[in-house]
Symmetry: C2
Subunit: 661 residues, 2 copies
């Protein structure tokens, strides 16, 4: 059923007509009855064009759609529901869903309590601040968020990032109060950043951190975090403040003879073994997902009990000592709204807020795709932002969605954000009644829990897949990874963003071009490198430009086309074949052209004219054809040189070649 | 001769075959005999792929082509010729060419001498430095440059930019020696920047300044320069150091009662009238191009003579006073190679060097296209850089190609860079013998010459054309213009670059998508907005993605496609028409895809599966099909869902719809 194209059944006919018309030899002819005109879309009014561009940029997801054609009162209700989605899904909430949410909530609570205590340490904060951040933020998120599966709370990477950034400003051991105040300030601005991005619908900015960069960054952060745990794991008292692998290793080996504590190592190693085994069971059989989920809490209980009865703390095993009892104290007054630290907190907040956002949105999207529900990224950002703003006023530090806990939440069968409320309630009870029991919890067990948690962030498979798919992506991934591991978290982040941008710019600067040939027995013209049986058309060089033509690539494209032409002409000359008479530019992939692009086309046209070669265009898109007309280029080359597709252009040019021969 | 496509003559046949095959209802079928396989290009070795990417990025112009398959000695000769093109074209140089070059050289010399004196003032340097810069740099360029038409020397915009940047570091009236030394330092690093960019083949970086931005920047600079001339033109003694229009206007009107000198104004105004009239004649009739070219020199001679005999300088008419006699003194020792000013000179040099490069390359390309010869941008940069490095050691400041003088050079019939040598020789004689005669030249005449010269830089027509072609380009143009006029040259430049980059990123983030329909009586599927008679295919939604799918747009594209689908389904539902069963993504314009893009496709596939809609792809390019395979996505959706073109995909899916109905 090969398409019998214009070349196949129409060639002779066209030739005949053209002969009759006696048109000049090297011109393309166009017969209205046979060739289709390239459509010129109706010109839009300037304002309308501007409005539609604006809409696609900022309101691509059409958020006001449900509001359309609704009465005023209904709009109000919808507006409130848009801000508080709980009002919408809450109405259809039932006991069955509640049962699922309770089980999921309890599971993630048991996982989050030990993690929170450990993560707070990563941020150089006292353990209770981790628990605080698992109490208020999840509640706010449950009211405003639209993801059904995300589990909110402190996460390893953001805790580490915040800790690194904060301690480069204030020493947490010397000035713990200022440090904490700066932490709340940063959290406040992280929330402001997130909410602002969402409100102004700038959510697409986080898309500039590519998947590859995130994989590398996360892997690097996981290794850095695991290395930091060597302090607690080996019972080292003097430990570097730096996070790069070289400093940490020096610190570790420097204290090998007089700093390691064997009791600590025994406790840590045995429980790490237990945790990893639990993980293995959970991975082996999805039914046992709850084993790794509750293993940390069990380890904490066992280890605490063990230290309590053996008084191991007297043999150098470091313990948590004291977690303040009671729920979050207010902290509005602790935020720096003036002074030097305002600006520093602002800067740190932006970075931490963006990274937290990236993680939360990635999680949200992943699970939304799995359960196929819509997730409004911008609305989500407003929810996350509000949650952190409120958090900063109630002694929380930056909270976001946790990869590992969200996965557990999903597998435990959560239905809605109610699981976050349940978790939050359990944390609330913990804060009120159980914190004193953590006194004898050895730090080594927290280190083991964090190590076993962050191992999951190292995604070998993703890295291998990235290597397979796109080498440049892999460079971004590796750059981010090495930057984090060998320098610092911020540098890794910077490298990731820089490589991602450079990649875009490179690909905009050096787009691909291809020589097309006709696939036998069809009217289809394709890249001769991709389709080796595609045949070049004698006398016509068909070049496809695989990109919009912008100032950044217009010169390259022009010169690349002339190079294709030069190469082709030399080959033809060497083989004593007839020379090229038509240069046919297939414009299908040219989605846009700017003034520099039009200039380049004009220069190309002039160069070709000097060589007695005709420029012919095939299938310019709506934007391009519009600009070709408005710039007068269509008139310059002649409108009869612009064709609907390559096949029609070739069948218009070929007869002329035959005549000339 | 409409192409009778697969739908036309093959539909029944396929239907028949598929019915026989009893394939499942909602699956596309693919019959080897009728559908063409999408070609998978042979996988390249990693190194080869890397090398070819590197080659396209840095050696797109294939500079080593003539060296291929040549003996060693020939390669050496070619290498020397590549560095000094004069050795190549000099061998075929003859008397006829020389005649043309002499006439052109004399014409541009007469134009450049008064301009040089004026432009040196823009750079806050003594007049002789302008002449120095028209002596050495053109000689060096003539040896190394490959443009035949460019006229080298100081230019207005670079002089102004350099002057502004330098005086923000050192006050030229208080510390003239340090100021001059910094100027040479900046010139040295401008040359280093240019040569380095050329040597490392980073020439494409200057392409990032778009045509639109240059038009706006040049226009703004011209107005700024003209405003600066009001000082000399009105005979004002106290004048602002700032260049923005508001400061200048305050300065001008502030001194209206006691600062303007009527004799100066009379001289300036009458000669400006003469110069503009000469310009008008030159424009009216191309034969009289020499009239505006020699008018400045005639004005200078007449005005100087007039001041000399009337002793107008005693009535407040400011004159040049003294131009040092003799050729360029060496200035190697004056360059700051250490200390604070090294870094400042370096910074200023980079900016000035890049702007100078942009201007020279734009000129070179324009004339190369007009006479159709090849211009190697990178080699050109090395030539310009070397010329400025040597210049900085011989008391020259940054020289580059001048728009106005190059045009005169071209029209006067220059053949080679010998015209630059002639001009340089005339400047040499001027420096040796004639400079004392400029003593009585009134500053007003220099102001008039500069005003009449820079007026040509304001390109209304280009700005109007930009407005017509591309509104966003116009914003970049206007931003650069207003930035220069209302703030400063650097800010204007910064705005131009920032808007240009933002434009690229915006278009990479929000690519266009289109719904395709079948153009009646063809097998061609096109955007239904561009071709209103294109018909949608019932049950199949055909979406074309008009961009490479990268991390920056992958989520947008996925969600935009789902939105097209939702809109379409609602319409169909409202009209009680059968629902969509196939989503056909036309991939022709998708020139590349990265790991984030593959992820987005996977998510799209999952979402569609939940709705019982099949995802079908048409015409993925070589890179894309390769990545679809290496990522396993091709297997996920099934290789029989990937078609050569839309027509074949539709004719494979349609029978299934019929069966189902």
């Amino acid at each position: 059923m090969a398409s019998v194209g214009p070349l196949g059944d129409g060639k002779n006919e066209v030739k005949e007509i053209n002969t009759k018309r006696q048109s000049s030899v090297s011109q393309c002819s166009q017969n209205e009855h046979h060739f289709h005109k390239v459509g010129v879309p109706p010109r839009q009014k300037l304002f309308k064009e501007f409005a539609s561009t604006l809409k696609e940029t900022f309101f691509a997801d059409d958020p006001l759609r449900p509001f359309k054609d609704q009465p005023q009162s209904r709009k109000l209700v919808l507006g409130i529901q848009a801000i508080f989605p709980i009002l919408e899904w809450g109405r259809s909430y039932d006991l069955k869903k509640f049962k699922g949410d309770v089980i999921a909530g309890l599971t993630i609570a048991s996982l989050c309590i030990p993690q929170d205590i450990g993560y707070a340490k990563l941020a150089n904060l006292d353990p209770q601040y981790g628990l605080y951040s698992s109490f208020v933020p999840p509640l706010i998120y449950a009211l405003m968020g639209s993801s059904r599966d995300i589990a909110i709370g402190p996460v390893a990477v953001v805790s580490l990032l915040l800790g690194t950034l904060l301690q480069s400003e204030i020493d947490p051991t010397k000035n713990p109060v200022e440090y904490r105040r700066l932490a709340f300030t940063a959290t406040f601005f992280a929330g402001i950043t997130q909410a602002t991005l969402g409100f102004f619908r700038l959510g697409f900015l986080i898309d500039f951190l590519s998947h590859a960069a995130i994989v590398g960054f996360m892997g690097g952060a996981a290794i850095t975090i695991a290395l930091q745990q060597l302090k607690g794991f080996l019972g080292i008292t003097k430990f570097t403040k730096k996070t790069d692998i070289i400093s940490v290793m020096q610190s570790v080996w420097g204290s090998v003879h007089h700093g390691w504590n064997w009791q600590t190592i025994v406790i840590g190693a045995s429980f790490l073994g237990f945790l990893l085994f639990a993980k293995y069971i959970g991975k082996k059989n999805k039914k046992f997902f709850w084993v790794p989920a509750i293993a940390p809490l069990i380890s904490v209980i066992l280890a605490t009990f063990f230290v309590y009865i053996t008084h191991a703390e007297k043999h150098g095993v470091q313990i948590v000592k004291n977690i303040e009892k009671g729920i979050n104290p207010p902290s509005v007054k602790e935020i720096y709204f003036t002074g030097d630290y305002l600006l520093k907190g602002f800067r740190i907040g932006i970075v931490a807020g963006m990274v937290a956002l990236t993680e939360a949105i990635a999680i949200g999207r992943t699970f939304a795709a799995m359960k196929d529900y819509q997730l409004d990224g911008n609305k989500e950002m407003v929810a996350l932002g509000t949650m952190n703003i409120v958090g900063s006023m109630t002694s929380c530090y930056v909270a976001t969605g946790s990869f590992s806990r969200s996965a557990v939440n999903y597998m435990a069968g959560c239905h809605t954000a109610v699981s976050n409320i349940i978790m939050s309630f359990v944390v609330f009870l913990t804060l009120l009644f159980i914190t004193p029991l953590f006194k004898y919890t050895p730090n080594a067990i927290l280190a083991a829990i964090i190590i076993s948690a962050v191992i999951g962030l190292i995604d070998y498979d993703a890295a291998i897949l990235i290597w397979k798919i796109d080498k440049l992506d892999f460079v971004a991934c590796l750059g981010a990874f090495l930057g984090v591991v060998f320098v610092s978290v911020e540098i890794g982040l910077l490298i990731a963003v820089a490589i991602s941008f450079a990649k875009i710019l490179l690909q905009v600067t050096r787009p691909r071009t291809a020589i097309l040939g006709k696939i036998p027995q069809t009217a289809v013209y394709r890249n001769i490198q991709q389709y080796p049986d595609a045949m070049k058309v004698p006398g016509i060089l068909i070049v496809r430009v695989d990109s919009a033509i912008y100032f950044s690539n217009s010169n390259y494209i022009k010169e690349r086309i002339l190079r294709w032409l030069r190469d082709e002409e030399e080959q033809l000359k060497a083989a004593y074949l007839p020379q090229i008479k038509f240069l046919l530019a297939e414009m299908s992939p040219v989605t846009d052209i700017d003034t520099s692009g039009i200039h380049a086309l004009e220069e190309l046209y002039k160069s070709l004219q000097k060589r007695d070669i005709q420029l012919v265009l095939a299938n310019p898109g709506p934007v391009v054809i519009d600009k070709l007309h408005s710039s007068g280029f269509a008139n310059l080359i002649g409108e009869d040189r612009i064709f609907l597709n390559v096949a029609e252009a070739v069948s218009s040019c070929s007869p002329k070649l035959v005549e000339e021969a």
